[in-house]
Assembly symmetry: C2
Homo-oligomer: 323 residues x 2
């Protein structure tokens, strides 16, 4: 029953008579609101601008001039908004209840689903990295304190001066290097949070607006389909024409939002890979650098301590014999 | 006023007439009790063994046979114990109030003081090492979890397979190596706790016994000095002789305990240095080994990942262009 569409992967989930592909028009109404916006707010603002008779001293009453044209416009807006909201709610409800049909973009929606899943996973990894950084920071503090305790013992214990000293130097260096690693991991989590809470979130907001436009479009589509199934006479024909017009306008709006979102998701996917590629290498290198500097220091530290012990063993064996 | 003593550094803190050096005798009473032990417990036990008239059916009374000899001995013991306790308490009290004189061993007591200070410091270091091990254990768990999260992302993200994979491998290896280091630090704290709570504590108990013997000895010394200052006649001379005997017996006991403790402290000092030397090298080597293995792994890991990235860049540039 379904005809091929020029935009590719848009499908309606249930069996519906496929409407003709509408020609693209320039006057689509792209307001990106997730739910049709209420006209009440707008009219409330407008009423402030209505001409008022200045308050006469002592009279206590104010006469507000009626504005037939504005009131009619307002009524028109409220009516239109009510209809759209009603249609939107009915469509959303029937989708939730598993009734009715919905348009599914087989190309875009799996990518959005993947993006949501990715965001969840990145968020998880970022939280773990944050925990890691916090634990490492505490660990560094303990290492520093232990290093200081070893230093005191090194000064207080001539017979174990070298041994305590070597451990003091080791713990202090590890602590300092650990702090650098903490800063690197914190930088990783900061950039990951920007990716998750700014970059991806921005697209997710667009995805919500897209979903709202899709529901609105589906509501008008279902209306048109229902009218098409009914009899065609002089009463229904103008209604059908109007429904056809509304449908095309909604469809264009939906497709515009869909195309915008599709471009945005593609850009995000590229950007995401670039950002993550950099961040993951930075993280790995930070860990590697920490490990390298610790290894170099400890190797040198152990060599120095061994030499000192050998020297003291040759030059001053006194304390060994004293003890 | 003080004459040189054969045992060297024993000094009496206040001006006291120095008694003659007593000849060593074989019958010193080395009971190592920190306070003169009460005879009440012993006599209570003994009273169970006293012959009892078997209870006649219907009589309801028990006749306990008096034992003149045992009662006299008991009385004697109680008297002696009371006197010793009285002397001990009087001496301890007068020392606490800053009155009277006390014998100070200038060689042994600073070494005991040093030992107490060392024990305190070792205990502090051990607690810090324990904290370090606990923090490192938690850190390793987080690394493992982060590694698993990276592995999942590596499998789920073809475009960042290598980057996520490299970080997964890094975190997992660091976690495993960290666990080995935790075991090493735990072994360090275990052996340090043995040194502190068994080896040093054992000597500290002896030091307390030594202090008790010293107070008892000082009590008899002060008694003798007081009698020496008084008049000498037929009433006081036997008392003086008895005091002289008691003093010598106490002095020998004190010196025996002192000499035993001195040997024990010297052995402990040697043992302590050996144990700490080993433990400190084990700890440093554990840290060094951890660092070395992490460094080796990460270096290899980063090389492999770079090669994989270069290969995928040459052979399959598709995913880079797709994204």
């Amino acid at each position: 029953m379904e005809a091929a569409e020029p935009s590719g992967d848009i499908n309606v989930v249930t069996d519906t008579t496929e409407e003709e592909t509408p020609p693209r028009e320039a006057n689509h109404n792209c307001n990106h609101g997730s739910v049709p916006s209420s006209p009440a707010e707008e009219s409330a603002e407008q009423s402030k601008d209505l001409p008022q008779t200045p308050q006469k001293p002592g009279s206590g009453t104010v006469v507000i001039q009626g504005n037939g044209n504005t009131a009619s416009e307002k009524l028109q807006r409220v009516r239109k908004w009510s209809i759209t909201t009603y249609k939107y709610t009915r469509q959303a409800l029937s989708e939730k209840l598993g009734r009715g049909s919905r348009t599914v973009d087989l190309e875009l929606e799996p990518r959005l689903e993947l993006l949501r899943d990715d965001r969840q996973r990145y968020s998880n990894v970022t939280k773990l990295a944050q925990t890691l950084a916090n634990q490492l920071a505490q660990f560094s503090v303990t290492q520093k304190t232990l290093g200081d305790a070893f230093t005191e013992l090194s000064l207080k214990t001539p017979s174990l001066h070298v041994e305590f000293g070597a451990n003091a130097a080791a713990q202090k260096f590890l602590s300092k290097s650990g702090e650098t690693l903490v800063a690197a991991v914190n930088s990783f989590t900061l950039d990951m949070n920007t990716l998750i809470n700014k970059t991806i979130e921005d697209t997710m907001i667009n995805a919500k607006q897209y979903e709202a436009a899709r529901i609105e479009y589906d509501a008008y589509r279902v209306d048109l389909e229902e009218l098409n199934l009914g009899p065609r006479d002089t009463v229904t024909l103008p209604k059908l024409e109007q429904a056809q017009k509304d449908f095309q306008s909604q469809r264009e709006r939906y497709q515009k939002i869909r195309d915008d979102l599709s471009v945005k998701v593609k850009l995000l996917e590229e950007n995401k890979v670039k950002v993550l590629h950099n961040q993951l290498w930075l993280l790995h290198n930070a860990v590697g650098t920490h490990s390298l500097s610790c290894h170099n220091f400890l190797e040198q530290n152990i060599r120095q301590a061994s030499e000192q012990l050998n020297n003291s063993g040759v030059d001053a064996p006194s304390w060994l014999e004293e003890s």
